[in-house]
Amino acid sequence: MPNKQLGFHHNMDLCIGCKACQMACKNEYELEAEVNWRRVYPYRENPANPERNFLSVACNHCENPECARVCPVGAYTKREDGIVVQNHEKCIGCRLCTMACPYGAARYSPKHRKASKCELCKDRLDQNLDPACVAACPMGALKLVDLATFDSPTAVRSVPGFPDSDITNPSIRFTPPVAGRQYRRDA
């Protein structure tokens, strides 16, 4: 029986790039304007549907987290449930984690001069609430999953444009977008 590993299932086919998830996270934790624990990116890999697919990524709570490996003060630890948390007190603001993470999960706050990242809303999970981003998504495109038991036939480990999963083995699964047909005026 594999260990519990909490993570995200991102259904890109449902994502409309509305950024409610990005803002809901900032709202939950009163983050500084420059600090985005979750970020919505335009996803340009599908020429059939250019510009209108999106990718929402926060922290992937990797199996082999780079942030934990490089941090000189040991601020990051991986919990039993797979969540990689940060002891924010310890941070000395060297920013190595913000560089080492292949996904840009760790973010530096110029105001507080420390790095921080998504902690999978561990407080909310303790209250049996979904993470703020999952709760905010109007399309249900983000779900909290336990990779130990997650099983979806359409979900994949990575999509084009997403950094190599073999580096850290991120705890994220995607359902890739399927393009509709288009009648365009520039064909």
Binding site: R39, Y41, P42, Y43, R44, L55, V57, E66, A68, R69, V70, C71, P72, V73, G74, K90, C91, I92, G93, C94, R95, L96, M99, A100, C101, P102, Y103, G104, Y108, H112, R113, K114, A115, G161, F162, P163, D164, I167, T168
Partner: protein, 281 residues
């Protein structure tokens, strides 16, 4: 991110480590025995200045931290973090150099202990390179950061010693026997540093999109060209000349000036062009 403080920290500390390293290597030559007093006194000068320079570079490095006064916390990361080791080893080197300077006031410096100090210093440069060998920077794969940093250490150390041969009494005393060989060593190290710089950019140019972007950013920079020419090629030529015609004049110091400036420029480019993997490409 502002890279100046890390640039100065790494280059200056490598310069200091290199100086001690090359002095220690020269300890195996005949002249070090026949002119042991001059060699030892020069060694003390070097240990003091290297210790202070390393200390200074560490102070400069604090500037890049969000909370510099909390930096002693890096001791907590020794279990897994190259950065922790870099800081600790650099610190031990600085303290060790000063300690060895103090202990050497009797007129005797143990080769073994100074050899250990050299090892610590090389360890510092090695771990420093390992910090930047992150999978998120594809261009930095293949061990290049370590090789580049070690090459800098050797080359800058050698040219600095050559400069000391021209400007200190003890150095001048040792120069007739050592300057020629030292110039050759410096030349070799400089050429090595140049080859590695080109190899680094060349390898990156054939890698992933991020690596290619980093290579382009480096090679299209005017600073890169200036550094290759004035910071490596020119000093190499000078060193070649000095190897055959050793001089005790200011000319012996010129390679040091050019190389230090060049390495600072090159290191700044190394940091500022780093291209990270990111979502969305």
């Amino acid at each position: 991110m502002e890279w100046l403080s890390l640039t100065l920290f790494t280059v200056l500390s490598e310069a200091a480590i290199g100086l001690v390293l090359v002095w220690w290597l020269l300890g195996f030559s005949g002249a070090a025995v026949t002119k042991v007093t001059a060699y030892t006194r020069l060694g003390r000068t070097i240990l003091l200045s290297s210790g202070l320079l390393t200390g200074l570079s560490m102070l400069i490095s604090l500037e890049h931290l969000g909370w510099p006064f909390s930096s002693p916390r890096v001791l907590m990361g020794l279990g897994h973090s190259w950065l922790s080791w870099e800081v600790v080893l650099t610190g031990i080197f600085a303290v060790g150099a000063l300690a060895l300077w103090w202990l050497g006031r009797s007129g005797n410096i143990s080769r073994m202990i100074s050899g250990l100090l050299v090892l610590v210093g090389l360890g510092a440069a090695f771990t420093s390179g390992m910090v930047w060998s992150m999978p998120s920077v594809p261009a930095n794969a293949g061990g290049f950061p370590v090789l580049l940093f070690l090459a800098t250490t050797l080359a800058v150390g050698a040219v600095l010693l050559l400069a000391l041969f021209a400007f200190t009494a003890d150095g001048k005393a040792l120069a007739p026997e050592m300057a020629g060989a030292l110039s050759l060593l410096a030349l070799g190290a400089t050429l090595l540093a140049g080859a590695l710089a080109l190899g680094f950019a060349g390898a990156a140019a054939h890698g992933s999109p991020e690596a290619r972007h980093q290579a382009t950013a480096m090679t299209s920079s005017g600073l890169h060209m200036a550094r290759l020419l004035a910071g490596l090629l020119l000093p190499a030529a000078l060193l070649g000349y000095l190897a055959r015609q050793p001089k005790r004049s200011a000319l012996s110091a010129l390679p040091a000036v050019l190389l230090v400036a060049g390495e600072i420029a090159g290191r700044f480019l190394f940091f500022s062009t780093m291209t990270f993997t990111a979502v969305g490409g």
